[in-house]
Symmetry: D2
Subunit: 391 residues, 4 copies
């Protein structure tokens, strides 16, 4: 009997899970793989939709649930949660003895998982290394530090692979596969517009509408409320219907939730809040949207695949490579309103955006990643990273 | 009244403290500086000499003692301790609100302190970045990851500064000051040989003797016992007196302690163990030694200042830049014995080693570092790290 | 110079702080006392009103803020938070070296503080020992266990002092002082009814109104939503205005918050939510209320001082000694409505309730407690508890 | 198919494991039981013999290893370890969902396990409740607090069952089974004296010898070294061979280890140290010993079964019920020596001790305990503890 390779994914937030899920789907069907997940962080909090339920519904085996998200907007609370997470991960990895652990992105899970596994000499595969978020954000430091601990890198853009090479990572560790979240996005079933759940509120089939996702920025946490107000006021000005997704769990999110709740109360004909819209309805909501606004990575990564114009507000995502479908504006209601108008009413710009080829992936990334995870040799060369700086 | 700049050092082991102590000495005399320490890890353990007492004796203000070192050789214990340390540091930093935190080296304290401070937007100064330890050791990953979180880098060698530039760190953050541990080493008072405490056991003033410091390597922890036996057997073969310092707290150290205790019992005329020899006696012990053997960083960093030949055993330190006073050998009693003989009895080699200029510092590093810590502008440019990769 | 006695209070929730605050007020004016607080748990969470701000505003010195409340309704999250709290308290007690630590009640802070201090041989004073909450609740186990660790007991009822004697506690440790929360309650300034903030919504000065506070019960957490609906429906039926306070942070509270928000949205003329009403307005709101409903301890402890009828719903408080002003009902809208009607419209019952003497205190408890804390001898007899069981 | 009852034992030290092991043995052979262990604390530390290996060798399934023992003699380190242990237990219990958890004694595991399980509404069975150790020791507070959290009590003495009734515990929860550690003790195979491993050093078969086990007392930790010296000096005075077992992991143990090592070095003909003597040799060592000295519970609990005289030194065990085989003395070399002489050379006393019936058990305790664990009804009556104080 052949020993199955045991692969352990760790996820702490829906944004991470959405990226890894297509890879899970691939691996779950491989009889040479034993697949488990560790679920932690925001997944276990009612405040963030208790999205561990999605994972349970998807049917993957959960090896452990690590409760660590501290209920506080103060940044110290987040770091306390990091300490608890590391302790939990250490015990879980020791118990499970995985052949590879997999983690995604630049949240605390990226650094806690990669550091813990590296100390235990367990190979770490990291998705989304080499990416660049906005200036000065802790996310960049976390992502680069994660890359220094990780043994296998799956990048989402050729430029990201280049960054990893500059960071001194060996070529044999780097696989530019594109973003697996795009797989589902690209292959997502089409729902006729009049059957998309949230769109029941539209008066006519042709009424243009916006989708708004604006996350807090840790380093600007105290301004989060003021920032979202600029966006909301711009939309009120335009008088266009706007579907708002809840922000993530970073510090500052309470202020955003408070403001979007307030505006939704005051302008029930304009703003529609949703917390956990299912993915199929969400993608079809985007497919028919006039513009995506806010600062979601979705605007950079996924919107190009469906030719959707994006207005990106503030510093988040500003450093990310855009395929050409994004207008960048400041936290300023006038700038925001102008950019939305351009995105809706300039036919030349809309045509250009429609024709873009998405550099972040072709819809087959999950297969590429799972092939590497199944076949890469696990040996000292992989685990003990050589020093490649020659100075 | 001028607001004093508050600088908080964190130390988890004597090796770190020895490097930072000259800087503490400089800053403690500055009336524009409020200086505090957080003491953690091995400092609080009787197993490792409870060296917090040294710090108390030196008279620095201790802001917190964070108890986190788990009593176990299993690597998972170490990571659990990391989690506890982060939780403690988060609370301590929030309480103390330092202007700058300072940390040294590549142990867990380096990464926990730099990550915690970075999440809390507190500037981190890191000593000893850009260095390279042996292949595949977790230390390298920790050190590079720390550099990605840190805001100010004090390097000990020009080559290390170069590595940090390759890692994408801004020039204005990098100061090649040399190693402050050398300051005390260079300026350490000379004790006449016949007054050096451990040397009372020597029969004649001219009897050559060895000093042995051999730390465990985490990735080779299970071999630690076997490895030290090769060294001990080589010394038994040569029949030369050998003073042995206790190893550090990394996994594998129990096996080493067990073996050196055993050999010291069997060969009381050859081996002399010491746990916490005071620094002055230690340095004078080295000054008069024939050869330093093992894998202590001391052989690479300090020995050149006193023209001391070194036999470095095994993979630890192998990647480090040597000034020319080091013979590298494997865990092999014959190789070790041969190299020791060469180091003692080849007059040409001894003369060359005597003439070396130490590239790791000139004895004034602490002053250079404290000047930067006192004067560097603390602003957004320092705290929010730009992305400097251009791909 | 006389060494001041250092007393350290620990509080994790507003309910605890409200009880200890009058004692703090007494001690803060004593020049033989150094007074500090450790603030933890729900105080640091926006979800529960971030009530650390109240403490800051009151001007007490905060020695540490321990972030430990896990954002999850799952009970395991609460226990993880207990672990973090203990670690934080251990470090804080070691740092502060208090002469006495003080804690209140039966929440996790009671057991974490008393256990931590007992391990460190620091005397613990516990307020509210010997009390009895509802059947089977973890609160009772926590309170009794706390009493076994504590060295000084301040009880709120003679019967509670009796329970402690049965538990084997020495007489010299037990002080039946009454509940200091009553001090402020009894001496709270009277606001004319027409100036009480929330009452602006009343149409006439004579309109009777209800106050509702219903906390979740941990052992019935999954029923919390269903339970509150019974109460809300009873109030809708009666059509009487009802002011609702937010529930505490126990598991199940999210469901309650969801339901009260929903009903407040549907019946804006009946339900008025408030999160952090200032205490003076709150007490005056009670003074003029027709009935207090729900399961707040306030109904048992404070309402007798102002002759306020109470309808206590469900198992919480059922085991507590009532002065005669409480009708106990089940989670059943008919029972609840009937009891409210009796409480409002039966003149004999209302007269009886008006005449009650409150067995929980006379308004001078804080002075009694602070006198003991200042004067009790701290010695081995106090710290090392004798075994008093003779079997 | 019948659902097996899942029983989870938690052990943190060899002393606990020795008590529970006969029960494990019973349950492991029952096909209606799923049996698992959580191993934590001193079991995972090389300093205390890494006794997890014994458990692995015994072949029980280990559900989790929780690394929490902090390497420090300072009491704060122990409490930090308690916090980590609780966090680990919470996650483990949530993952394993046991029907019953079982814990033994009065160490930190007793309170952490019982509190964690009680918060999670999992029934806790506690062995050794109602016992009384020395005055003022934290052990008593821990044990009583544990009893207030626990749902099922297995006592080792009728008097202990009485204490639990006084503490308000229901009769149906209390089972006076005796101590299962005695089962193995009583039924332990007899080794001929001349084949008992450590006794090879005896010169003649009739030479009387002592066995010494002296643990530190937390509240007297700083005196531990001085205390053991009195014992060692008394033995030196008598000139009788003495076999010394290592002390447990409580604060103060380092000083004891240091002293016994020193004396063993100085008097190699008198003192023989052993760390992890196998149980069979250990029991046969006792069977042939002249006197057991120190403060081990073994002298109270087990020695009566073999008619062995005991000299109990200091406050530990002083409050425990003795069957009549124990002479209590202070930390005083003269008193100790006198009591040892009486125990060896007074034929009347020796004869009385020989004839004692052990009140701590008849050798069938494990069967009684396992029968209850298999058959007790798990329902609300068990889980939700009623209030039984009538005042």
């Amino acid at each position: 009997m052949i020993q199955k390779r045991k692969i352990l994914f760790v996820t702490g937030a829906r944004s991470e899970y959405d990226i890894m899920q297509p890879v899970l789907e691939q691996l779950n069907n491989c009889n040479d793989i034993e697949l488990k997940l560790i679920v932690t962080g925001a997944h276990l909090s009612e405040t963030f939709g208790k999205t561990v339920k999605n994972i349970e519904n998807d049917g993957y085996e959960i090896a452990d649930r690590i409760y660590n998200l501290v209920s506080s907007e103060d940044k110290v609370g987040r770091v306390v949660g990091i300490g608890t997470q590391i302790t939990g991960l250490a015990h879980a990895f020791a118990r499970e003895q995985p052949d590879i652990v997999v983690v995604v992105g630049d949240r605390e899970e990226a650094i806690t998982v990669s550091m813990t596994a590296a100390y235990l000499s367990i190979p770490v595969a990291h998705l989304a290394g080499g990416d660049i978020a906005n200036d000065g954000n802790i996310d960049n430091a976390v992502r680069y530090a994660t890359s220094k601990f990780a043994h296998i890198h799956f990048t989402f853009l050729e430029q990201h692979a280049q960054v990893l090479r500059l960071l001194g990572e060996d070529d044999f560790r780097i696989f530019n596969t594109g973003n697996p979240a795009l797989d589902k996005f690209v292959h997502c079933p089409v729902i006729p517009k009049n059957e998309i759940a949230p769109l029941k509120v539209l008066k006519t089939g042709n009424e243009p509408y916006l989708v708004l996702i604006q996350h807090p920025i840790i380093t600007e946490a105290t301004d989060a409320g003021k920032q979202i107000v600029e966006t909301l006021e711009a939309v009120v000005d335009l008088g266009i219907k706007c579907f708002i997704n809840y922000p993530n769990s970073d510090a500052g999110n309470f202020a955003i939730i408070e403001m979007i709740s307030k505006y939704a109360g005051e302008y029930p004909e304009i703003f529609y809040l949703f917390k956990n819209l299912d993915r199929v309805n969400y993608i079809n909501l985007l497919r028919n949207a006039a513009v995506l606004i806010g600062n979601s990575s979705s605007g950079i990564l996924e919107a190009p695949s469906i030719g959707l114009p994006v207005v990106n507000i503030g510093s988040r995502q500003r450093e990310r490579f855009s395929a050409g479908n994004v207008i960048y504006v400041d936290y300023n209601r006038v700038e925001i309103a102008t950019a939305i108008r351009e995105s809706i009413y300039n036919p030349v710009y809309r045509a250009t955006v429609k024709g873009i080829v998405n550099p972040y992936g072709d819809g087959n990334s999950a297969k590429k990643i799972s092939d590497v995870l199944r076949s890469i040799s696990i040996n000292d060369k992989l685990i003990y990273k050589n020093i490649t700086y020659k100075v």
